[in-house]
């Protein structure tokens, strides 16, 4: 069944399957739509087409017409219009579809061409697979198995090129493995806008290298490792750490800024080994920043909080919750919520504030946006707090109101959800004056001053959602179990809310979403389970007047002039 051809669609025939695709689509992408794999190395959907690997060769033809009369020439054998096949193979990546285009991807000529290309690519490729980090996710391995000859006729000596070159602080290059696809060069030039890579020498001696005096050190350098189809570019951090086939993939979201780049967390037996980007054409394409890839190190950090403490002594969860509730009942309370909390946690924070009848303030973190995938607002979920109604105005960087209230004695207890009050503008004297209940993952000045410490989980150890700068709600999933002694934020918050007098039925993401959907109109139709992997765009119009800090980034244009970056 063919969809009716719209003006911007063209119908093509790939291996006998008709499909209507948008104009300008190339043959690789068109074939992908009918589940036909056209093998390729140099082509990448988010980079320009160069057509230098020649792996995507296909056979193509056009329906025949009589040159004089323009009447279709029919094939008497089939009764259909005759196809004039081009006698030589064409590259699929550089061939855009045209109406009536016919493509063969499995004909003997195509198979022969692929075998030839594979043989040439493998001539100088070292037999490094046992020690190569790319093994298991290597296009050369996959495609030599799928489309190669299966044995080598090469008896001469392989070329020798530099191995173990440090291209930059995070990327290691093995030139012998490079197949000269130039994806990394194009990425650096086109996406990272840091043109430092190039080929030197000719023919089989061509070598990838950095320009003299330059280094591949921009904050997007590890994307070249992701797009390298072979093991030429490898991550220095992940080098020889673990084989990829052992690693479990969990979808997550980069929490460094309000861009919310989609990521995959790779873990084995409760240990995270690496973080890579996940394709989301509306948010981060296929890229992410290097700074977001090392965040997994906070999971096994030395400063991790793993003991529940009440007044400096080790305690148990229920005792600590009871002590916290007593503190809240005894004193005048303020809550410092967080733009790093998930939507679910912010919902429960709001419940806690309502149960205690107190106000909530958030702390803003504003830095310099890099116009790509790090936005100015370094809190991943300020918009979540707006959507859940935790706050109505944008947070300030310093807690001046809270500070004044503490000095005036109108606040004696502060519940902090992972926010370091010392960096948020409270002095050490003010911290000793008040009783702090600290829910957090890592030790800091606030946890040192806190009366009650409730260790919680990092974003890799729990599930939840963030609302990014586009008001796109995206979910992240639990990749590894939390350490002994740390409790899920939602459990702690639900217990605190219950202890404060309002019963909360749910402390897990799934059941909690029923409550959220019932109480937050903007999220009324959703459940956690049916939230798509690429997120769901919420209505941003109620918040259009707020002076958000973000400037322009990839796939995001601020609605109005952003507020000064120093606010």
């Amino acid at each position: 069944m063919i969809a009716p051809t719209k003006p911007d669609l063209v119908t093509v025939n790939i291996d006998g399957k008709e499909i209507a695709v948008p104009k300008g689509t190339n043959v690789i992408e068109a074939a992908r739509l009918v589940n036909i794999d056209v093998p390729h190395y140099c082509y990448h959907p988010k980079l320009t087409v160069v057509g230098n690997c020649r792996m995507c060769l296909i056979e193509m033809g056009m329906p025949a017409v009589d040159p004089a009369t323009k009447a279709p020439v029919m094939d008497p054998a089939t009764g259909k219009q005759k196809i004039n096949w081009i006698p030589r193979p064409q590259i699929g990546c550089g061939t855009n579809v045209s109406p009536g285009l016919h493509v063969r991807t499995t004909s003997p000529m195509v198979k022969d061409a692929r075998e030839g290309v594979m043989e040439f690519l493998l001539i100088n490729h070292p037999l490094d697979c046992p020690i190569c980090d790319q093994a298991g996710e290597c296009k050369l391995q996959e495609q030599s198995t799928g489309y190669g000859r299966g044995y080598s006729r090469f008896i001469e000596q392989k070329n020798v090129k530099p191995k173990r070159t440090q291209l930059g602080p995070r990327v290691t290059l093995d030139d012998e493995r490079c197949i000269l696809c130039s994806r990394c060069i194009r990425f650096s030039k086109e996406v990272a806008k840091d043109d430092v890579l190039g080929f030197i020498d000719r023919g089989s001696y061509s070598t990838l290298t950095c320009y003299p005096g330059k280094q591949l050190e921009n904050n997007y350098s590890l994307n070249t490792v992701d797009i390298c189809p072979v093991g030429a570019l490898t991550s220095t951090d992940f080098r020889f750490k673990m084989r990829v086939w052992f690693l479990k993939q969990t979808n997550s979201v980069d929490p460094e800024s309000s861009v919310g780049a989609n990521t995959v967390v790779w873990s084995r037996e409760g240990v995270i080994y690496r973080i890579t980007p996940r394709r989301n054409d509306a948010v981060n394409d296929t890229w992410m920043a290097d700074s977001g890839r090392v965040l997994y190190k906070q999971v096994k950090s030395d400063t991790r909080l793993t003991t529940i403490k009440v007044n400096g002594a080790d305690s148990a969860l229920d005792i600590a919750i009871h002590a916290a509730a007593e503190l809240c009942k005894a004193g005048r309370v303020a809550i410092v919520g967080s733009g790093r909390s998930s939507v679910e946690e912010q919902f429960l924070t709001k419940k806690l504030a309502a149960a205690l009848g107190v106000s909530v303030s958030l702390v803003s973190r504003v830095g310099q946006g890099d116009k790509l995938l790090i936005s100015a607002d370094r809190n991943p979920n300020v918009r979540g707090a707006l959507v859940t109604g935790l706050i109505t105005a944008l947070p300030a960087a310093k807690l001046t109101e809270l500070s004044a209230a503490i000095d005036a004695g109108t606040v004696t207890t502060v519940v902090s959800l992972g926010e370091d009050l010392a960096t948020a503008g409270l002095t050490a004297a003010q911290l000793t004056k008040i009783s702090v209940v600290y829910l957090g993952t890592h030790a800091n000045a606030t946890s040192a001053a806190a009366k009650i410490i409730l260790p919680t989980l990092t974003g890799f150890e729990k599930s939840g959602t963030f609302v990014n700068q586009q008001f796109r709600i995206q979910k992240f999933l639990k990749a590894v179990p939390g350490p002994v002694g740390a409790t899920d934020d939602l459990v702690v918050l639900a217990k605190l809310v219950t202890a404060a007098g309002t019963a909360i039925a749910a402390s897990e993401v799934g059941p909690l979403w029923k409550l959220i959907a019932a109480e937050v109109p903007a999220l009324g139709t959703m459940t956690f389970a049916n939230l798509p992997e690429t997120g769901l765009l919420l209505d941003a119009t109620p918040y259009a007047a707020l002076p958000f800090a973000e400037g322009e980034t990839l796939h995001y244009k601020p609605a109005a002039q952003p507020a000064a970056a120093t606010t």
Partner: protein, 179 residues
Amino acid sequence: MAVIPLERKTLSLAERTYVPQILSGLKTTFKRLLKPAETLEYPEQRPAIPPGYRGVPTLVRDPNGREKCVSCQLCEFVCPPKAIRITPGELPSGSDREHVEKGPQAFDIDMLRCIYCGLCQEVCPEEAIFLQNQYSMSGYTRAEMVNHKDRLYELGGTLPDSHFKWDKKKAAAEHGNAH
């Protein structure tokens, strides 16, 4: 359930004396008395191990005494009872194996899990792991039954090698087709 009573067979006089039965048993005893013994005085005597025998998996060194394993972890992947556990690591620069880049920091085989299937030997691309003739493993604790890297090399020893893949690679790098 129905119970069916069975009549016990009445024994003849010869059967009741047991003499024919004892004599027929002694016949076998006396016949064997003069023949050479067919059992072994284990553990002083050990059986001959046939070729292709799959004993305890071991790590072997090449004839130059160098470690062959490059910690590719294929044996760990293929091992059906998940008996193998490898911690890969980078070889220190400056060593004579620097060009191999990778080697195991730790290599543990849990012999309580191992089923002696030989898939690790079959999958090894470097011919570094072999199931050799050693067949008896015993210990008093579970920890004793885990063979660590040192023990695996001690059990494995050195086997002949016809490839010397990494030596060839080093030679090629030193005076090969460099530009």
